[in-house]
Amino acid sequence: MATEILMPELGESVHEGTVTRWLKDIGDAVKEDEPVVEIMTDKVNTELQAPASGILVKILVPEGENVQVFQPLGLIGSESEAVDGGAPPVSQTPSAQPKTALETPAPAASPAPAMKAGNGRKFYTPVVRSIASRQGISEAELSNIQGSGEGGRVTKRDVEAFIASRGKVQHVESKPAAQPISAGPDQEVFVLTGMRKAIAEAMVKAHQIPSVSTICEVDCSRMVAFRTANKQSFQEMYGVKMTYTPFFVKAATEALLEVPQVNSAVMDDGRVIQNRGVHMGIAVALGDGSQGLIVPVLRDCHKKTVIEIAKALDELVLKARESRLVLDDLQGATFSITNPGTYGALFGTPMIPPHQGGILGTYAIKDTPVAMDGMIAIRPIMHLVLSYDHRIIDGMVAGRFLKSVRERLESFDFFR
């Protein structure tokens, strides 16, 4: 009997992933716990380990295709099973669950998957199939029915409800169906998958937050001078490069503690969470940006010194760029920072990640003529932008927060 390599639940809101790479070919020997397949989900990229030792006898989900949670990805069998293309798999047992680096709590009851038949056709129960064929319900219509069974499986009741509503819906639904897009001679059409798809969905959600942006200018003279004077010794002493971001994080953290209203968020059920600790989401572009953007979380900023923040940040960014982030690294931010200043952006209006009260954008530091004490001086000036959820934060509070951040950066008193 072959053992199924099952797609595990990699997080609460993770329902599917994409097979990025099979690390083994059919016929290869695998050892239990040895990585066999690489999966990309909207939150993490991870390797799944073999649930058993044996031969990889079958690949059920090829590279580039999507896989639902609890769906089998492939089969591990014995030598003899490799010949006949894989014996029927053993039913799902806890020991057959693939192991992953992620420590996610097991679901209370392990639901059987709303499985796909081996031929790629979606599985429906015999009675659903026979009703569908009698009533002339197409495969496409079937696949659009929201199943109430385990794992979203379509039950007899669901299909009967569909039939009952079908007549009515057809009259009401006069919306023209979306025209299928075909690529022109100099175009290419593709669908969003994995991280890109998740970002798209998160941005739509973010867009629903009624947000306002407030801007102020920060005189970065002291910060720039400090960095210029100390970046060499800092690297030697602490082993990490000195960037401005740890200072932004530190200043924002202290300001959040001072103006806690900004460190709260409206949740999906309309209730508001007031956070006491500060866990800072840090936007990190991957590669040259074409591989997407991820927002790992720098935890417990309120307990960290600026040096500790610098070290933790360095580690986190490295993990993100090497695709080593685990689910825990991506959950629970209370507020976020984005730093488009790194690519010279002067000014922008960041979007608030869902379940956070706001996001702070730090922009390019640029020598600028400013009026000081009746004279014109040249100072390194940075735009600081706060986008905030106007449902819970008003302009005055936002202004207090921004002022607090600005003063901390200008006075640059982090090493007292």
């Binding site: 059987a112 009675v127 499986r153 039950t155």
Partner: protein, 334 residues
């Protein structure tokens, strides 16, 4: 007739069985009873109490401890046209008479080209839940269901036991009659049996109507299934409970009809799992009602182990209300 009239007061299953045998003995002077301790003692459980006094030691025979000899003698009597009731002290011991049953009794009608019938009933106390251990807890009907030529019944109520016993004795073929000993004296199921009550072989009984799933069972687990169905009702799940009563002939119409209504089936069987009757039932459902299934058929059976002595261990291998409830929930939520 020795016993008091069953029509006037509620009786337990043991009394109903004794009454049925008694009435058949009276009805047919050719009928004979044979078994260990059934005469002088009146049977280990009392199923034949008073019969030897009433009908004499030539019609109610105390036999030596030899199941093969008892069944062989019964076959000889039945071949001569005399209806025989054979008692196995415990149905577990029937294996000692196995060859006579499966090779002689089961095949007689076939081997004689339909010339010789064997009007005989082999009955005995069966089943677990009583702390009887491996030798006194079996529900071994699968062996005989697997031997063409035999009929097999297993009632769960006094009136069904009464009616089926009469039908079995009058049937011209060998019938293996399973009596759930844990139900023999169960007070809660005592009932008045109407005069002239009969239950035909091959007719199931719907013990509870429901629309969400069908639970097929027989014997002692009928009561666990009914209990589970009550609990399921509080979860808004209406389970239909069918008591087969006769396993062979099987009331396929009742079974399939119910599944066409509910589209989901759970079979509960006290016997061990592998090659048990639950598997046979599920195979038939798949053959004849596949297109009506909205979930894979499920079964709750005894584990493939002997029945342990110790109560908690015994319950851990046998079907229980909890196990049935859990399985039914999985079934309806599939």
């Amino acid at each position: 007739m020795t016993a008091s009239a069953t029509q006037s007061q509620p009786v337990n299953m043991l009394t109903a069985i004794r009454q049925a045998i008694d009435e058949e003995m009276e009805r047919n002077p050719e009928m004979v009873c044979i078994g260990e301790d059934i005469g002088l003692l009146g049977g280990a459980f009392g199923a034949t109490e008073g019969l030897q006094d009433e009908y004499g030691s030539m019609r109610v025979l105390d036999a030596p401890i030899s199941e093969a000899g008892i069944v062989g003698a019964a076959i000889g009597l039945a071949m001569r046209g005399r209806p025989v009731m054979v008692e196995m002290q415990f149905i577990d011991f029937i294996s000692c008479g196995f060859d006579q049953i499966v090779n002689n009794a089961a095949t007689m009608f076939y081997r004689t080209g339909g010339k010789v019938n064997l009007p005989m009933v082999i009955r005995g106390p069966s089943g677990g839940y009583g702390g009887g251990g491996p030798y006194h807890s079996q529900q071994n009907e699968a062996w005989f269901l697997h031997s063409p030529g035999l009929k097999v019944v297993c009632p769960s109520t006094p009136s069904d036991a009464y009616g089926l016993m009469k039908a079995a004795i009058r049937d011209p073929n060998p019938v293996i009659f399973y009596e759930v000993k844990e139900l023999y004296r169960k007070r809660e199921i005592e009932e008045i049996i109407p005069e002239g009550h009969t239950v035909p072989l091959g007719k199931a009984s719907v013990r509870r109507e429901g629309s969400d799933c069908t639970i097929i069972t027989y014997g002692n687990p009928v009561y666990f299934c009914l209990e589970a169905a009550e609990r399921l009702a509080s979860e808004n799940v209406q389970a239909e409970v069918i008591d087969l009563r006769s396993l062979l002939p099987l009331d396929e119409e009742a079974v399939i009809g119910s599944i066409k209504k509910t589209n989901r089936v759970l079979v509960v069987n006290e016997a061990s799992r592998t090659c048990g009757f639950a598997g046979e039932l599920i195979a038939r459902v798949c053959e004849t009602a596949f297109e009506h299934l909205d979930a894979p058929p499920m079964r709750v059976t005894r584990e493939d182990t002997p029945v342990p002595w110790v109560k908690p261990l015994e319950l851990s291998v046998l079907p229980t209300t909890d196990k049935i409830y859990d399985a039914a929930l999985r079934l309806v939520r599939y």
